[in-house]
């Protein structure tokens, strides 16, 4: 078992090590560089506990990874042996970046004096729109998160071979589309930033919805997403949506301990033990959000964070400022229209203006979401509030039949039974 602190350090160093290797051996391709960094991380896991940690861990990793690249280069183009021997005479350190890389401070964000955005650059590469969402997630967790293929596979409950396939396919795709490191210019970086934020959001959701217990590795994904969002925020502190995403993840993650019961059952927001919400995470999220709202143009992540903050402000569920939440959802529906937002808005409007108002909004979604459990779950909730228990029971039963989540099904069946006369 790797000690936790060493694992954390290595995962934190992974992006800057990969970035340094790519800068100097990028012509050999992203795929090989990424493999070389994984090998260096494994070597550190094996050697450091026994031989002691090097004084400059990042420089050590860059050296080892670079050496692998040189070895690979040598074995791959044996026909040009003479040139290689010349290259091999150069000590590995000469292949490295000058002081900037060797002196890397392992604390996240602390290298920002150099103006580099290693984590963001790598995320931009891993989150290219040419890759499927599953490939983006897998590659992000391995190349930027520093997780092994086996760890990513376990988190997604698939065999290691399946995950290895996704990662190598993603790398092949990057090669095909001529992805370069670093990305071409600042305008493109900014334009593609939302893709990166979306992948981090997906990773978080995957972890946040996990039920704990046997799903523990999957639950770690939420923490991993927060960590990566922090790293991006450290590199782009003045981007409102980067800040908004970090705030949203913190405010949502704060409820983690309260969202499932001891038996893994889902506890709805209204019934959660609010005293067990993580106050430090809430305070941090709220402070980040306040700063972003004061200084930047409003965006979808800031709005979602603002909604989470209103929930966090209510000491009891019945104190929730639903008119405020409904107003925020209205803005969100304009900025980021979609069925998920529309459903959540219907709930908020139902709570603020009465269930009938929510049901009216819901009717507009009937055709589009007829086979989606959440439409029926929301309808059941609003019908129950309106006093139509029989119809609510039917809606909850339909929702329970449509969901493919075991805990959701358990919860929805229970709600259906409550209204069964």
């Amino acid at each position: 078992v790797i000690d936790r602190e060493l694992g954390d350090l290595l995962r934190r160093l992974a992006p800057q090590v990969l970035a340094a290797v790519l800068r100097h051996h990028g012509d050999q391709g992203f795929a090989d560089a990424e493999d070389a960094v994984q090998e260096a991380l494994l070597a550190a896991t094996a050697q450091w506990p026994a031989e002691g940690r090097p004084e400059r861990p990042a420089a050590w990793l860059i050296t080892v990874a670079s050496r692998r690249m040189v070895d690979r280069f040598r074995s791959e183009v044996a026909s040009r042996r003479r040139e290689h021997e010349a290259a091999a005479l150069v000590p590995p350190d000469e292949h490295l970046a000058p002081a900037a890389d060797a002196g890397v401070d392992p604390r996240p964000g602390s290298g920002s004096g150099s103006g580099r955005e290693d984590t963001l650059e790598l995320l931009l590469l891993c989150c290219r729109p040419e890759l499927s969402p599953a490939s983006r997630i897998a590659l992000t967790l391995r190349a930027v998160g520093g997780l092994t293929t086996a760890e990513v596979a376990r988190a997604f409950l698939v065999p290691e071979a399946t995950m290895a396939q996704r990662i190598s396919r993603a790398k092949a795709r990057l090669r095909q589309c001529g992805a370069r490191f670093p990305a071409v210019d600042d305008a493109e970086r900014t334009a593609r930033l939302p893709d990166v934020l979306h992948v981090l959001y997906l990773v978080f959701t995957e972890g946040h919805t996990a039920s704990g217990g046997p799903d523990l590795l999957r639950a770690d994904l939420a923490g991993e997403a927060v960590r990566l969002a922090r790293a991006v925020h450290a590199e782009r502190p003045d981007d409102g949506e980067v800040t908004g995403l970090l705030a949203l993840l913190l405010l949502t993650d704060a409820r983690r301990g309260a969202r499932t019961g001891p038996d893994g059952a889902l506890v709805p927001l209204a019934e959660q033990d609010r005293s067990s919400w993580d106050r430090a995470a809430i305070d941090e999220g709220r402070a980040l959000l306040a700063g972003a709202l004061a200084r930047h143009r409003l965006g979808p992540y800031q709005l979602q964070a603002a909604i989470a903050a209103v929930h966090a402000d209510a000491e009891r569920a019945e104190d929730t400022d639903w008119p405020q939440i409904a107003a925020l959802y209205r803005l969100l529906a304009d900025l980021d229209p979609g069925p998920t937002v529309a459903l959540a808005r219907a709930v908020a409007v139902g709570m603020a203006d009465g269930p009938q108002a929510g049901l009216v909004l819901l009717a507009e979604l009937d055709e589009q979401l007829a086979e989606h459990h959440r439409l029926h779950a929301v309808r059941g909730h609003l019908l129950a509030l309106s006093g139509d228990g029989a119809a609510a029971g039917t809606a909850f039963a339909t929702a329970a039949r449509l969901t493919t989540s075991l805990p959701e099904q358990r919860y929805l069946r229970a709600r259906a039974r409550e209204h069964d006369t």
Partner: protein, 131 residues
């Protein structure tokens, strides 16, 4: 989301892959038979390379099956599958796909979907959203 693809086949000549011995397949001209087989192999490779394939297996003949069935609250065993039908479960594949449409596409492209049947069932997930 993961999907279980249940592949049904004709139990008359139990030799995998079953579709090769299906009367519908045997009635095709040789070049069409070759095309069906080639497309099946391509599908197999495609699902593997995409990182969608999770697990799969071919099942032994239904004649080797033993079924346990409750009778007056007691499990009673009988030889053979349950139920006895023209088409029998021949194998299964679990795929992890981004959309249900993709899982349906994989199922529909299996040769067995043309000659016998492939059933697609979503697999329940242990994770759930806050309500």
């Amino acid at each position: 989301v993961k999907y279980l693809l249940l592949i049904y086949g004709n139990p008359a000549n139990w030799e995998h892959p079953l579709y090769l011995r299906d009367p519908g397949f045997l009635g095709l001209p040789p070049e069409e038979q070759a095309a069906v087989t080639r497309r099946a192999e391509e599908l197999h490779a495609e699902v593997g390379e995409a990182g969608e394939f999770v697990v799969g297996a071919a099942l032994a003949s239904p004649s080797s099956a033993r079924t346990f069935r409750g009778r007056d609250g007691v499990p009673v065993s009988t030889d053979g599958p349950y139920p006895e039908t023209k088409e029998q479960l021949a194998g299964y594949v679990v795929v992890d796909c981004e959309t249900p449409e993709r899982a349906y596409e994989i199922a529909a492209r299996m040769p067995d979907a043309r000659f016998t049947a492939v059933e697609v069932r979503p697999i329940m997930d242990a994770a759930g959203e806050e309500m």
